[in-house]
Point group: C2
Chain length 167, copies 2
């Protein structure tokens, strides 16, 4: 397999995986492309490599920047903007964990806490509801704490932890 072919396969796979996890294909593909590009790419470069429109590229690059995993750079003497992704895979994982926690898990925890605090009126309905939503809260809270631990530690923490767990 040649580099070009492999790159293409990787970008396709990454796009498909993203879709399964609620990330739009173009966004996942742009990210994949930048991740394996040794040099920053311009908007034109991205459009051309992925055959997507200017508008699409612009919007998705913006989202990636909002997620904190893609950065703008400039080349001296050039007006055009260039884009590059977070290259450190551990840092990438941390940033995604951080954002998913902040955007999705925290708000969910808030709701779970709220709804699990209703008064037990003695019915089977309310007993089961309280029990299950509390259990979900516990699980989500534990998972989130672990995630935050990943987020706040040095980049190798994940691997180290795993090794530790094997013992």
């Amino acid at each position: 397999m040649k580099v070009t072919e492999a790159k293409d396969k990787f970008i396709q796979t990454w796009g498909a995986l993203g879709t399964l996890w609620g990330i739009n294909k173009a966004m996942a593909q742009i990210h994949a492309l930048l991740l394996v590009s040794p040099e920053p790419l311009s908007m034109e470069d991205v459009m051309e490599a992925l055959h997507i429109s200017r508008g699409n590229t612009s919007m998705n690059l913006r989202q990636l920047i909002d997620w904190g995993i893609v950065f703008k750079t400039s080349k001296a003497g050039e007006r055009k903007e260039y884009f590059t992704s977070e290259k450190d895979i551990n840092e990438l994982a941390r940033q995604i964990a951080r954002e998913r926690s902040r955007r999705e898990i925290q708000p969910t925890l808030k709701v779970l806490k709220e709804v699990s605090s209703i008064e037990d009126d003695g019915s089977a309905e309310s007993k089961e509801f309280i029990k299950q939503t509390k259990a979900l809260y516990e699980l989500a809270d534990t998972a989130d704490s672990i995630l935050n631990r990943v987020v706040n530690q040095e980049s190798n923490w994940l691997t180290k932890t795993f090794i530790k767990l094997l013992k």
Copy 2:
């Protein structure tokens, strides 16, 4: 807040969260409903509670069963089928982890291994590509191992591990 209201809020929230993680709304909502219902529900019950069609209900119940987190039960002397969800939240998490690993992470690992094994032709392109896809492979592999560990341990493992990590 009353039970009915809380239940509704929970089901809505769960549906929205599911959507963010690539799970269709009806599927997430049916699951939420069954999770907090003390007794198994019939298809009619689900249709009525969520205002969705028979076909939709049938298809999504089937998917939940495929994921191994919802089960068919029968009531003695009744022809109708009843459905109930996995009630143990830790077991639920394990089952979801197991399925996501099997369906999504394993295939991705396979591709990453494949594309990261291309020959280094000396170009910056191929060097960067190999380096990054290998790093992704390492990360995904570690994460998957941790996930599988969650999957194969007793249900309280997650909490215990967390406590251990605090030390």
